[in-house]
Symmetry: C2
Subunit: 206 residues, 2 copies
């Protein structure tokens, strides 16, 4: 059986990175898609781990050959999700987490891309602001802008199948794991291991 | 928020009773619907716990007043799920398990009754036969008949949202708990506790 694509989004400051790290630890079998980007690596970021850092010309070549499932230009930089790695992983039967922004999710939905779409919500706007301020990396103007973007993103919640309010990382990870477990038992994709039961089920007409 | 109706079915011998007992222990907040029946209590069965045992006349009166969500006559006995208790429980915000046979589920689906429909499958037909034989309560003819009924029921799998193969009780309970947890985070019924976030989400148009 092919693996399950799990699409995760969150307004910035909601704690997606910490969540994904915890998910990785709890489900070592889970794969994570690594995006391509033309921006320069930040301190602590590793090529091939956090992103595939590539030159703009290479990126544009890949878009020309339709090698991206989705891609976007944000300010001067390009970001994209390469098709090939994803398909290889899923075909091996491994579940795969795709961390995407709302724009990327819109693209996937327009392609009717099959997967489980999960949206991580902050407990409150106040808490979101507190977390953004706590980072200490952005000016108050930038924070204000991020909050506005966050609101706009949240208003697109209908793109998603599930919502998880990130109060504590432990609880959110447990909920995401429950969603993955449930989705693997969804009748529309469930395949009983016993051939006889599978045959009975497939013979069903109602 | 209203509670979630969880509809559970399983071909006989699949271990539904044991499963439900384990579910009850793990989620003490979960309510279980108690059916009405006109049949006599078996040894160890308690009125108001296993069933509401009532007289035929009373049952027919209830059907006349449309007091059942679904009811059926099986051989000489009547079985039904009373509407009132279910609605009261759900309105209190408590999740409720309804153990129903496939016929009952068909009735509910025809009424477009909203809930989570879970089908418990045996690991194999051989194992199902072994479990039915192991009970020691039925003749081999009766067992054969139950296996045929089971096959017919399994062919109606499309009535359900989820399938759980009951290999071990622990694993099946964990999967059912995961399904319930996931379903409570389904975007279509999820309500963020924070009013501001709820408002942003409700303002969404896409």
């Amino acid at each position: 059986m092919a693996g399950l694509p799990i699409i995760l989004s969150a307004p910035s400051g909601t704690g997606k990175t910490t969540l994904c790290r915890a998910l990785r630890e709890q489900l070592p079998d889970l794969s994570f898609s690594i995006s391509h980007t033309t921006r320069s690596p930040r301190e602590n970021e590793q090529d091939g781990v956090d992103y595939h850092f590539i030159a703009k010309e290479k990126f544009i070549g890949m878009t020309d050959r339709s090698e991206f499932l989705e891609w976007a230009q944000i300010h001067d930089n390009y970001y994209g999700t390469a098709r090939k790695n994803i398909e290889d992983t899923l075909q091996k039967g491994k579940d795969l987490v795709l961390e995407l922004d709302v724009q990327g999710v819109e693209t996937l939905r327009n392609l009717s891309y099959q997967g489980v779409y999960i949206f991580i919500l902050p407990p409150s706007m106040e808490e979101l602001e507190k977390r953004l301020t706590g980072r200490g990396t952005e000016s108050s103007d930038q924070i204000k802008q991020r909050l506005e973007t966050g609101k706009r993103e949240m208003s697109k919640y209908r793109l998603y199948d599930y919502a998880v309010t990130n109060v504590t990382v432990e609880e959110s990870v447990d909920t995401i794991l429950a969603i993955i477990r449930a989705e693997k038992n969804r009748m529309s994709r469930y395949q009983p291991t016993c051939p006889e039961i599978r045959k009975i089920i497939e013979s069903g007409t109602s």
